[in-house]
Point group: C2
Chain length 235, copies 2
């Protein structure tokens, strides 16, 4: 259309450059002056185009440093079956996991209630970090009812994933009974682990996984880097 | 138990005071000095108890202003049927809605694709704010395929809710086809509308509602105040 504003053409050209990988996530875009010259427009027009791309989440600006291609967030399905490794592979990402620490201890009354175990029963707690293509994606705390899952700590230590370890501990299959999602800001500690800045937005989920009989096998809290993930729910 | 640390008793007393409504959401708690005197402990013990309640999300501290009872977040189910009014009523909250602005215009190519309408077809866009007990809960943009929903703007203007208006426009029932959730920081504009501070954490959802035949009837973007809502998914 002849009355399409000029800035939309610049935005479209930049969108195509990003889609075709000419600028990859994290790359700095040319300066406003360079873009203005290249497209034969004024800087106001360039700024309008960049604003539109920022609004779309394709581009991020850093004060004084210019405009950068935003990292494409990973789509992460939250449905009846939530499997980290499968989810990442399906999104075209290489999954990774670091175990930060583990402990075996007596459950608090709240933990016992959530996991439906006797007060005073033991739990296995694993603190970890999930990665996508080597970049930190999430920090998590997983709580397992230890007496219900003999051999679980050893099976998890093999590093073949949660599904594999649960199977080794006698859980043939498991499903997600509930997920709760909220938005919080990164604390100093989480910022270091997730490699985001303090105060960055995080998606916090708390979730319960149960076996085929509905018995809890894992309760978890996860903090996802907000700009690296989109939780998706499809029917 | 005799070896329970002293701070847990203080935390338990404060938790009970909050649960019983002696301190309501938003109320300022007594100062550290007052709590120390009341319980016959030192301020270090009081501070430990308050830290635990902050960690649990029950209490918030504001630098220089003291400790306040945190607003209890509203549980907001995101399932196959997402109904704002029903969701709020079920959470024991009084639902409210402000329409900030509306427009009728030609769909962009992206909007036409999402709503499965012809390029150039008209859409009705409603910008609004949702309230829980009079407090802003969310800001939203709703996009409706106008030609598919004759009379919708007038029906929405009656203020009897989206479900009612869609019914008046011929949609007997509708379900949520997909929801995408991310975490973002409040911009200056959103901070004003939501009455949060700039940079506060927001839950952003993008969602598609379809009629019983799977035809899109509404596409929406919503920004929820992160500390006032928990999205819940149950199986």
């Amino acid at each position: 259309m002849s009355n399409t504003p000029l800035w939309t053409a610049i935005a479209r050209a930049l969108r195509a450059d990003i889609a075709e990988g000419r600028y990859a996530p994290g790359d700095k875009l040319p300066t406003e002056a360079q873009l203005a010259e290249r497209h034969g427009v004024n800087r106001h027009t360039v700024r309008h185009a960049l604003s539109a791309l920022v609004e779309e989440g394709l581009v991020r600006t850093r004060r004084g440093a210019g405009a950068f291609v935003a990292a494409r967030p990973t789509d992460y399905p939250i449905g009846k079956r939530v499997r980290f490794t499968e989810n990442l592979r399906r999104a075209g990402r290489m999954p990774g996991r670091d175990v930060l620490s583990t402990e075996i201890r007596v459950a608090t009354p709240e933990e016992a209630a959530v996991l439906d175990i006797a007060p005073g029963a033991r739990i296995f707690v694993s603190h970890g970090r999930s990665l996508a293509d080597g970049q930190p994606l999430a920090m998590s705390e997983s709580y397992y009812p230890l007496d219900r899952l003999p051999g679980l700590p050893e099976a998890l230590a093999e590093g073949r994933g949660v599904t594999h370890a649960l199977k080794a501990a006698g859980v043939r299959d498991y499903t997600r009974a509930s997920t709760r999602v909220s938005a919080v800001l990164a604390t100093a500690t989480k910022a270091v682990v997730l490699q985001v800045r303090e105060g960055a937005p995080l998606l916090k989920t708390t979730s319960l996984n149960v076996d085929l009989g509905g018995v809890p096998v894992e309760f978890g809290r996860t903090w996802f880097a907000g700009d690296r993930i989109t939780l998706t729910l499809e029917d």
